[in-house]
């Protein structure tokens, strides 16, 4: 199928151009082009053209958690959010710790066809932190696993972490760590600070994140391995990353949209829609996250999209599962938190939502330049349109969005994966 975009501005820069896509590739780019015969045409005047977004941190819940999300509904949410590739975390049931499970997830993703679904393999069997899973087999499977993580569970044992990093080095894969020293977060329910103290919620101290990141950077340097730090939430973690990067450690880091925007001030209603791990922290932390993202100390935005059906959220705080939806609100929250205040321009958005995540995960055909000869994998954004978030209207089965009723800037007009429109005007196209 052929595609013609008129009057769009790649990266929001310069004069509008037309884009011709044939057979999944950008074949022409320039002013005054004409649409090829039979091409679907998008009037892209006023729209910004960005490379398709890549999410290094998504929970699609299938297999095992289909009451909250499936690969089909999560893929639709991804396409509608402007994503062309997502990494599905392994905390499914069964856990994605074998070739069989990762190939199943990969195959389901291809069958749905709305977004490239890359399974993340578990580092340890059953996410138990005891015994290394068959990383090599998963890496060489048809799923070609590029990233391994025990997400949600920190790899606490330094010996397991060290060996995993050493092995990752020869497999040329990345280990993504949920940095949380569980000895410091026993029973933790919320960011350890003034709000949690007043609410009587056991505290999750920022030091529980910072100490693990520091330790892992030391281990990654020794192994010469690539370490990816999931969902950085604390201002002082940024200082650890700054020092590690300056010392040449191969460390990358992500921040979630919610840690860029929301703070623990939201907790006073005890509504578990705000419960997430790591927890929402203070305004000083969100400020530091934004600065670090702008400076490149934090490399990418990743959603940690975590659907939970109502029965897991409409409970008392302590009983609720942590996590919030993120795929369809990520761009808008990033625009609100970083673009509008002038910390990132559209090239910066392309960097943190597409180019760097593709580079970290080693995806050759994602995060590419918008240029002739490159794959037509991109997202068209209307920077001037606002929308109101309604959880029930999002594509996910669950509706646990913390932005319910909020009016957010920027909409995704169309998402294109290798020349095929996967979402347009708020409708996914399976």
């Amino acid at each position: 199928m052929n595609l013609f975009l008129s009057n769009t501005r790649p990266y929001g820069d310069g004069d509008p151009v037309d884009v011709v896509v044939c057979d999944g590739v950008i074949t022409e780019l320039g002013a005054g082009l004409s649409a090829p015969h039979g091409a679907e045409t998008i009037d892209a005047a006023g729209l910004v053209l960005l490379p398709g977004f890549v999410d290094l941190h998504t929970h699609l819940r299938e297999p095992g958690g289909e009451e909250s999300e499936t690969i089909a509904t999560g893929s639709a949410a991804a396409a509608l959010g402007g994503f062309t590739a997502v990494f599905a975390m392994p905390n499914t049931d069964p856990v994605a710790d074998t070739e069989v499970v990762v190939e199943h997830i990969h195959r389901r993703g291809r069958e749905v066809g709305l977004v490239d679904v890359h399974p993340v393999g578990a580092v340890t069997v059953g996410l138990e932190g005891q015994k290394m899973a068959e990383l090599g087999t998963m890496a060489r499977s048809r799923a070609q696993v590029r990233m391994f993580s025990d997400d949600g569970r920190c790899i606490h044992d330094p010996l397991i972490m060290r060996r995993a990093l050493e092995y990752a080095c020869v497999l040329d894969v990345v280990i993504a760590q949920h940095a949380e020293d569980h000895r410091l977060t026993a029973d933790a329910q919320a960011h350890e600070g003034v709000v949690a103290s007043r609410l009587g919620l056991a505290g999750w101290p920022a030091s529980a994140e910072e100490t693990i990141v520091a330790r892992d950077c030391v281990l990654a340097r020794e192994a010469g391995a690539a370490l990816h730090v999931c969902h950085v939430s604390s201002a002082r973690t940024v200082e650890v990353l700054r020092a590690a990067k300056a010392a040449g450690v191969r460390v990358s880091a992500e921040v979630t949209p919610h840690h860029l925007l929301l703070t623990d001030a939201a907790l006073t209603s005890y509504d578990p829609v705000h419960k997430v791990n790591p927890p929402l922290r203070t305004a000083a932390d969100t400020h530091a996250m934004r600065q670090a993202l702008a400076q490149g100390l934090i490399d990418v935005v990743a959603t940690d999209h975590a659907p939970h059906a109502a029965q897991y959220k409409d409970t008392e705080w302590q009983a609720a599962r942590p996590g919030m939806l993120g795929l369809q609100t990520a761009l808008s929250v990033l625009v609100l938190a970083c673009v509008e205040p002038g910390l990132l321009d559209w090239r910066g958005v392309a960097r943190v939502l597409s180019e760097r995540p593709a580079e970290i995960a080693g995806l050759p055909d994602q995060g590419r330049a918008i240029a002739v000869g490159e794959p037509a994998t991109f997202t068209l954004v209307d920077p001037d349109e606002c929308w109101t978030v309604r959880g029930a209207k999002l594509a996910s089965i669950a509706s646990n969005t913390p932005y319910e009723g909020m009016r957010l800037p920027a909409t995704v007009v169309a998402t294109v994966l290798r020349g095929r429109i996967t979402a347009r005007d708020g409708q996914a196209r399976p």
Binding site: Q189, E192, G193, V194, V195, A196, S197, R198, L199, G200, L201, A202, G203, P205, S269, Y270, D271, Q311, D314, T315, E316, W317, Q318, A319
Partner: protein, 314 residues
């Protein structure tokens, strides 16, 4: 007042109003042969306790009965809660049954807030309105305990404003301390928290109180001292070295009690560990208002039910 979830629902006037109602109810009952007022006849009060409790549950039950409400006790272990029903479904069931008021104790902080927000949501759908009273939620609050403490202090000291009140012990895990600090400061008292740093919440310096780690240095200037319950399981190394060391540094021994001014009042929310946070002789001394606290508890809870179910006399 729609619900009583936190002492921060009460400003000084509202809190004083409750204490005044409590006094009036006590007076109204004093000369009576039959201790029963008709005030809440036909209203249903359900106490739902997800944690063991003797005094609070009995106190609420008696408070309801003395005002002729129909009171029903749900012990979480004996109900469908033990079969795994969610708090949400339990609350739906109780309001469908027609509870006018649910008094809840729950191990999760914020459980009463959740019940109240569901009750408000359901009210829009069904028209029935259930008031929620927080009888202790996790380590968050225990508002009626703070009210009965305030009533007791007002009786003993004549006033609360300007008085200096020490709260001693495991503040970190104490809902009594949280409600106490915020209610007593609202009523104009100067509150001093005394605890080692491991048993103080992060950010406590932003509470309306002063913080000290030396009990001996504070005692001589206090008008009242409230000793918090110490849970034995906190005394095994990760929060504090040992019960013995705790008693020696923070227990209200006879020698320490002697440092208090003569008029000072000793409070304890109970249940006490005699010889640990408080010496037996101090608990039974004339300065101790511990049994007065229990008596006032009934009247204060009558006042709360009265204000919620019959409407506050503004």
């Amino acid at each position: 007042m729609k619900h009583l979830l936190s002492v921060t629902d009460l400003d000084a006037a509202a809190a004083t109003g409750l204490l005044d109602t409590s006094d009036r109810l006590r007076q109204a009952l004093l000369g009576r042969e039959v201790r029963k007022l008709p005030t809440l006849r036909g209203r249903t009060v359900i106490t739902m306790f997800y944690e063991d409790s003797t005094r609070t549950r009995v106190s609420f039950e008696i408070a309801g009965k003395w005002m002729s409400a129909d009171t029903v006790n749900v012990a979480a272990k004996g109900s469908s809660v033990a079969k795994g029903e969610s708090l949400r479904d339990t609350s739906l069931t109780l309001s469908a049954i027609g509870a006018d008021c649910v008094v809840v104790r729950h191990p999760a902080s914020g459980a009463a807030h959740r019940l109240a927000s569901w009750a408000d949501r359901d009210r829009a759908g069904t028209g029935t309105h259930t008031c929620i009273v927080n009888a202790g939620d996790g380590t968050h609050e225990h508002p009626t305990q703070a009210l009965l403490d305030a009533a007791t202090l007002r009786d003993r000291l004549g006033s609360i404003a300007g008085r200096r009140i020490g709260i001693v012990g495991d503040v970190l895990h104490s809902r009594v301390a949280r409600s106490g600090v915020f209610l007593l400061s609202t009523l104009g008292a100067e509150v001093v928290l005394v605890a080692p740093p491991m048993l103080l919440p992060v950010g406590v310096e932003q509470w309306p109180c002063r913080v000290s780690s030396e009990l001996d240095a504070e005692l001589s200037t206090l008008d009242a001292v409230m000793m918090l319950r110490v849970q034995a399981e906190r005394m095994h190394g990760s929060f504090f070295p040992s019960s013995r060391e705790y008693a020696s540094r923070y227990g209200l021994s006879e020698a320490r009690a002697a440092l208090l001014p003569e008029h000072a009042v000793v409070l304890h929310p109970g249940p006490m560990v005699r010889g640990m946070e408080i010496a037996s002789s101090v608990a039974d001394s004339p300065s101790s208002a511990i049994l007065a606290q229990v008596r006032n508890g009934v009247h204060v809870r009558m006042a709360v039910l009265y204000h919620l179910l019959a409407g506050a006399p503004e």
